[in-house]
Amino acid sequence: MVQINLPQNSKIKKGYYFKDKTGSKNLRKVNIYRWDPSTGENPRIDTYEVDMDNCPSKVLDLLNKIKNEIDPSIAYRRSCAHGVCGSCAMNMDGKNGLACTKPHSEIKGDINIYPLPHLKVLKDLIGDLSTLYKQYESVQPWLKTTKKSDNNEHYQTKEDRSKLDGLYECIMCACCSTSCPSYWWNGDKYLGPAVLLQAYRWIIDSRDEDRKERLKKVADELKLYRCHTIMNCTNACPKGLNPAKAIAEIKKMLATS
């Protein structure tokens, strides 16, 4: 259901202020969402003054710098730092993206960092994505075929292969799904852009023999048609993919089949 306001225990309070100790003249304020499960207190926004003269270019570098030099208690996911693993997806400057590919120079004014929107927060910038993973599992994202292939791969033509371009690159970082208002209000039933893009990736795969069943499974008022083409997903995707178009293609296939 649509609930605009945050629940009482999620209201954000003012947090601590970490003054700069380096004496640098090139400072930027970084506001970070903090929540510590051990205290039972409401979430807060901590503000850090960061010396930008000695900080590499990406938001993730900025977070690492804060964690290493100012406040080691801050928690966030990160791994590859090259936009491939999708771990450091978060909301920066009001838009979802990967901290490791987002240059902080693109952000004007103070740098605001929140976890991905409308998730159960586990700690600080870490949101709980288990619902999304369950939904991902529900579309059975693997090749289904009855053909026996002993030694060879399942071949497909170059044209058929090219249909997967713009789909296979998805790293399941959840930037798109958590940017979608429909997913905010109906995240338990609506599959969301990330999972639907994956569903389409298997529907359109020429090697897969389960297309009809896949389409049937996804053709649901709540699972699919909660997409109202708000386009937040495509706006958010850090890999430049187009989940909105993928969803539209599924709708089109259903309408014309």
Binding site: P7, P37, N112, P117, H118, L119, K120, G127, H228, I230
Partner: protein, 126 residues
């Protein structure tokens, strides 16, 4: 663990042209139904006689009446233009970020332009 907070969503998320047009499409849709019902009631009330026409005439020439007409025209023209955009989407066109941004702006500007044109035509007619 049930006390885990919900991370902020609409409070912090930036508005894009496409999300703005999308929510406006919804709101104008609901408003149009309400207004159309109201218009029907007025037409019906005309059948009850002369007096009712006078009330309508006074209302439409009042400040609020004019505001009402402008909103009515805007709401409809916005809905129609936005719906045309949706038709193209349903056919699978116009999903590129740039295209959707341009068509979104066109819907907003177009609806304002149509409103101005239609309202000034009304001014000429009356």
């Amino acid at each position: 663990m049930s006390e885990n907070p919900l991370s902020p969503h609409i409070q912090i998320y930036n508005w894009h042209i496409s999300s703005l047009v999308s929510i406006s499409h919804r709101i104008t849709g609901v408003v149009n139904i309400l207004i159309l019902s109201l218009v029907c009631i007025w037409i019906w009330s005309l059948l009850l006689g002369n007096e009712n026409y006078k009330i309508m005439f006074i209302f439409f020439n009042s400040f609020f009446g004019k505001f009402f007409i402008i909103s009515f025209i805007w709401s409809y023209s916005f809905q129609i233009l936005s719906e045309i955009r949706h038709w193209f989407w349903d056919l699978g066109y116009g999903f590129e970020l740039k295209t959707s941004k341009i068509t979104g702006v066109l819907v907003i500007l177009g609806s304002i332009l149509i409103t101005i044109i239609l309202f000034s035509i009304r001014g000429i007619l009356l």
